[in-house]
């Protein structure tokens, strides 16, 4: 289309029209390229530098990385994010799906219940952390209440048990995100063709089999989205841990996000913090990029 069209006033305006979409997209592109990918590059560099309290651009090769891998807490943090992430994602999905299925049974108070399940997502853990701490604290919350009510043998002390503390974090995190997952599943359920369910009824399938064999397999895209959103939340679970356990007892509930923060800002080990960040980013990329690829490869119908 190089040959100039004979239109007189058209040329400039038409060219503008042709460039306009890219022009409009470019501010976002520039922002993202600079503030996200530029910073990722910067962090990657820092992970090979001798940075301590403040960035220092002396190249030290893999020094920080080897210190990261010999670090005692990093092992715990990795183990925790693995346990936490897995449990968190699985429980949220299972609970969210169950709630969505239950809510999908033409429930009277659906609107109210939906809001109740959804509201925790609205609150930051800076806000709810204290309430959770109380609630799970054996001396103050659930356990004490049960004792007061006469159930003396009731025991729930996970918050202070270094082996179990991570599970209390899971509980609170699940509480927060289940509603959101439920909403996603509910939307997915509502999108399923009602005739198909009727067809299955005619085929003689009982209700639970209809869900197990027909409906749930069709929610695959919702599962994928839910996993992505939850993985995103799990990796960023910083407020949550800080508000509930501060990473304790000991380092029992340290996760990469708290590890990074603590190494960067209280231990003055920015190099290690950067290395851990780059590592986490690589893990996320390994998880997300195949998903993005599969999502974007084919034009959605």
């Amino acid at each position: 289309m190089s040959n100039a069209s004979p239109e007189r006033d058209g040329g400039a305006r038409e060219r503008l029209q042709r460039w306009l979409p890219k022009l409009v997209l470019s501010p976002s592109c520039v922002l993202v390229l600079f503030f996200v990918y530029g910073f990722i590059a910067w962090t990657s560099y820092i992970s090979f530098s001798d940075s301590g309290m403040m960035p220092d651009y002396t190249w030290v090769g893999l020094h920080q990385w080897s210190r990261l891998w010999t670090s005692w807490t990093w092992g715990i943090a990795l183990h925790n994010i693995w346990v936490f992430g897995l449990l968190y994602i699985v429980s949220c999905i299972v609970l969210g799906l169950i709630l969505a299925i239950l809510l999908d049974q033409r429930i009277r108070a659906e609107g109210v219940l939906r809001t109740i399940y959804l509201y925790p997502m609205a609150l930051s853990f800076i806000v709810t952390g204290t309430a959770w701490q109380w609630f799970l604290n054996p001396g103050l919350g659930l356990e004490k209440t049960m004792h007061d009510l006469g159930w003396q043998s009731f025991s729930f002390n996970w918050l202070i048990d270094s082996n179990m503390a991570i599970y209390t974090v899971v509980i609170a995190a699940v509480w927060q995100a289940t509603g959101f997952v439920m909403a996603m599943f509910l939307a997915g359920l509502r999108g399923i063709d009602g005739e198909m369910i009727k067809a299955a009824q005619i085929d003689g399938a009982p209700a639970w089999k209809i869900y197990a064999r027909i409906i749930i397999p069709q929610l695959r895209p919702v599962f994928l989205s839910a996993v992505v959103v939850l993985a995103h939340l799990a990796i960023k679970s910083f407020d949550l841990i800080v508000a509930m356990t501060g990473g304790g007892p000991g380092n029992a509930t340290a996760v990469p996000a708290t590890f990074m923060y603590s190494y960067a800002f209280s231990r003055n080990e920015m190099g290690i913090a950067a290395a851990s960040a780059v590592f986490m980013l690589a893990v996320i990329a390994a998880l997300i990029i195949p998903y993005l690829y599969s999502e974007l490869r084919e034009p959605r119908s």
């Binding site: 890219k22 503030f35 709810t128 209440t145 909403a183 407020d239």
Partner: protein, 291 residues
């Protein structure tokens, strides 16, 4: 239907179980909110002796008054209301601008495709997943260079940058379900790029606008990390003020005031969820679920 048939009676029993389960979940879900609310209406003595789950024996609004207007944060005893308005000053432009940019991006990426549009989208989407800790220092430097350090304007910029990924995702998926013919028809009608967007696509985007606003509003309002790092002091958002109030290292903890302050901090997001929750589901159904 006449007399209850066996199937009908079994139906009633199942529904009773159904409602019981849903009700139980609802109670569990409401527990933390309940604890926070009741505590915020109790006196300090009652908290120290009483049961956490009990209703206040003697209701008092003082904790709320104190949290709003006279609780001390550092050496200033003006409550959290100033910070509340800081948050509003941050949330409103951040949500609007990131939403608008996301809408533009979604529009271009679906209706004005160009070579490499998928890569651009992939890059934007991936930006949703970076751990924010790593960008604190470089961001601080950049804000300093831009003279936006320690200001609400700086925080607005930060939230816009890191909100673009999700807003673009939402709008892209939504607009992907719009027929391309719409844009073509408008072109034949003689409409240009912006006219098509503002006159035709945007007015039809209400469901996804609601989803985006809810998501962004919640994220920005509840943000702590950016707030504490880039805008502490007088321009701090409410989460930071709340943290300062709650996390004193010494002294008697005024749990009731803390809880009241926490509720103040939670009210806007709660309102948004309750008011727009219905549209939220609708918006999710209109395409954003699919990834």
């Amino acid at each position: 239907m006449s007399a209850a048939s066996p199937t009908a009676r079994r139906g009633i029993a199942t529904r009773a179980v159904l409602y019981a389960i849903l009700g139980l979940f609802a109670i569990v879900y409401l527990m933390p909110l309940y604890v926070m609310l009741t505590t915020s209406f109790k006196t300090l003595e009652e908290i120290h002796q009483g049961n956490m789950l009990a209703l206040p024996g003697q209701w008092t609004l003082d904790p709320w008054r104190e949290a709003w207007g006279s609780a001390c944060i550092g050496l200033e005893c003006n409550g959290v209301h100033g910070y509340f308005f800081n948050s509003i000053k941050i949330v409103v432009p951040a949500v609007l601008i990131s939403g608008l940019l996301g809408a533009f991006n979604g529009y271009v990426l679906t209706k004005w495709k160009f070579r490499g549009h998928k890569i651009v989208f992939g890059l934007m989407l991936f930006s949703c997943f970076i751990p924010f800790q790593i960008i604190l220092l470089p961001m601080a430097r950049v804000l300093g260079i831009l003279h936006l350090a320690n200001s609400t304007a700086g925080l607005v910029l930060v939230h816009i940058v890191y909100g673009i990924g999700f807003t673009t995702l939402f709008f892209r998926n939504f607009y992907a379900s719009f027929p391309d013919e719409l844009v073509r028809a408008a072109q034949l009608d003689g409409a240009g790029f912006f006219t098509i967007f503002f006159r035709i696509l945007l007015p039809a985007s209400v469901p996804i606008i609601v989803v985006t606003i809810i998501w962004q509003f919640t994220n920005v309002w509840n943000d702590f990390l950016f707030g504490v790092s880039f805008a502490s002091g007088d321009s701090a958002p409410i989460t930071v003020a709340l943290n300062n109030l709650v996390n004193s290292s010494t002294g008697v903890k005024a749990y009731n005031v803390n809880m009241a302050a926490a509720m103040v901090a939670a009210v806007p997001t709660l309102i948004v969820y309750i008011l727009a929750g219905k549209y939220f589901l609708r918006g999710l159904m209109s395409g954003s679920v699919k990834g």
